[in-house]
Amino acid sequence: MAGLFSLPTNENPNLETTPVGDADMTNQNTALLSLRNVVKHFDISGGLLDQLRFSGGRIVRKHTVVHAVNDVSFDILPGETLSVVGESGCGKSTLARTVIGLYRATGGEILYRGERIDNLNDNGMLPYRTRMQMVFQDPYASLNPRMKVREILEEPVRFHNPGISDADVRSRVADVMEQVGVNPLWGVRYPHEFSGGQRQRISIARALVVDPEFIVADEPISALDVSIQAQVLNLMMDMQEKRNLTYLFISHDLSVVEHISTRVAVMYLGSLCELASAADLFGTPRHPYTQALLSAIPRIGGKAAGHIKLSGDVPTPINLPPGCVFHGRCPHANARCMQEVPKARQLEGGALVACHGVEEGRI
């Protein structure tokens, strides 16, 4: 039966170990979480009949694969906020879900304090469930509408602490509710009785009740209004200070990312373009895509014109372009960019950039 309930395993785990890049060597022992050449593909070919194609006079079976995350490596250091930014479809949410174990990586390794966690089964993963938690995007969909807030918050505590007394559970939940700014007396209400901001607080409380050290936040504020966004961001920063949390923060809002991050990773079409400290990346963006992205931020009082115009559309992740995934829209692309996939290289100052142009000093 266990096999029938495993995660949808339509991929063929290709778990060969790959040599760790130079850039990652320095952090190997101190990293809280390390991603090594993580790949995530989704097979969307459907049933056998949908896969059959007629080509060249023969019927062939064709797999349609979405290349959501391609060969991404980086480390997350304890206590930092590492943000992943990119436009819709760039694979940032998939990356978050692969890290937390909701998806199984197609290739590569994920290490938590030096231990591999990407190949663990449900039982093996269990000890990590209290150390890594997740906060979701949609405050309306992320809380079970049929459970009272107290039930939602008590469930993880009871599950991970079998034999804990009712009084202990109550006090622990009340504690966390207090911390996130939700009156514990409201625990008897259902989620729909709360506003979006309060729901997101409850969602954060659910992640915090098991006392984790690492939180993956997938666009936690993008569904909220501006004034509420500030409240939730402040709460997240307060909690980080108080509980010494590490965040993997996924967002498309660059000005939010600039404000809260220690380091920022920019993704495009499943690949990592650039990773640098927030000040560095926003001050001197190096990758042409990062430059275009930053110039498009609608700044208060800024002028609408003056951003870098990218030609063309984002290609689909089903048929990735050869070479650098960005070459079709890049103003600096040359012949090499069309053939050779750029490797992330560390520059002086610590920034990682995957671009031939930067490497050759053209940009």
């Binding site: 309930f5 949808p8 395993t9 339509n10 909701l102 469930r129 992320s142 809380l143 599950f159 991970h160």
Partner: protein
């Protein structure tokens, strides 16, 4: 408790119910029918199953308001002299029992299969859904006729009377569970993509717990809606089977077997033996269906209102 009652009184549910005259009428009708069926032993002037009470001399007495009507028999009597009014009350009891029982069985099987199919792996889903397809490709009457013939043969007509109710529950229940399985599976597929299910997985909960505690309660709305329709359908199926002689025996009549028993006298003037059970059957099924329609509209306002 008082608070709950107050909340119910102020709820949108009650408000929109009271504003819909069709819903109120059908609900009232259903309550009257169901209550009189449940209270049959108290209300009915005669016990149609008590042989000592039946006098063959009273057979085919017309209803009260016709010539030759007997005040003792409000709606007249059938060909064996049973009081038709009492027989209808008892018969409705049997029909409702089979209807609700069969639906409970359909729901049990269907919800289980639907949950497993929707939340399990693609292979399990394929297996279960193909079984459901096969089940649906048999007409439920065919299954019932086939099995009914076997059961009647093995038990003999005398013993069949005792096993008839559970047998019909089983047959109608088995025939229609794919309806539930498909509905539940569809909503499980929709629910399992939602973030609260992912949150439960990140907590580390086991699949069965996620299915049971998190997904199932959120799929019950459509289940509630199809349940009303399915009860009506099951009552109709039972009536049809009984009419064909494969359901309840005449000695323990349901509405369907009452209709059948009077059918042969229909054209010889004793129309009431068939007509009254028929009218009651229609009213019962209609009221349940109308209630179901209202419930569906209420729960899916976007889908069905302009």
């Amino acid at each position: 408790m008082a608070g709950l009652l107050k909340r119910f009184r102020q709820s949108y549910f009650l408000y929109s119910f009271l504003r819909d005259p069709v819903a109120v009428t059908s609900f009232a009708l259903f309550v009257i029918l169901a209550a009189s069926a449940l209270l049959a032993p108290v209300i009915a002037p005669h016990n149609p199953f008590d042989g000592a009470n039946i006098d063959i001399m009273d057979a085919e007495t017309p209803p009260l308001w016709k010539d030759g009507g007997n005040p003792e028999f409000l709606l007249g009597t059938d060909n064996q002299g049973r009081d038709l009014f009492s027989a209808i009350l008892y018969g409705m009891r049997v029909s409702l029992l089979i209807g609700v029982g069969a639906v409970a069985m359909q729901a049990c099987i269907g919800i289980m299969v639907g949950l497993l199919s929707g939340y399990g792996s693609r292979r399990l889903d394929n297996i279960l859904m193909r079984i459901a397809d096969v089940q649906l490709s048999f007409s439920s009457y065919m299954v019932a006729i086939f099995l009914g013939a076997i059961v009647q043969m093995t038990f003999g007509v005398g013993r069949y009377e005792q096993v008839a109710v559970p047998f019909l529950v089983l047959v109608i229940g088995l025939a229609e569970w794919p309806q539930y399985a498909r509905t539940v599976r569809a909503s499980v597929l929709a629910e399992k993509k939602k973030e609260y299910v992912e949150a439960a997985r990140v907590i580390g909960l086991r699949p069965f717990r996620i299915m049971w505690r998190h997904i199932l309660p959120n799929t019950l709305t459509p289940v509630l809606v199809i349940s009303t329709v399915q009860v009506a359908n099951a009552i109709m199926s039972e009536a049809a089977l009984s009419f064909l002689g494969l359901g309840m025996p005449v000695t323990k009549p349901s509405l369907g077997s009452l209709i059948k028993s009077g059918f042969q006298y229909f054209f010889s003037g004793s129309w009431w033996i068939t007509l009254f059970p028929g009218v009651v059957l229609i009213l019962l099924v209609l009221s349940i269906n109308l209630l179901g329609d209202w419930l569906r509209d209420f729960l899916n306002p976007k889908l069905y209102k302009d």
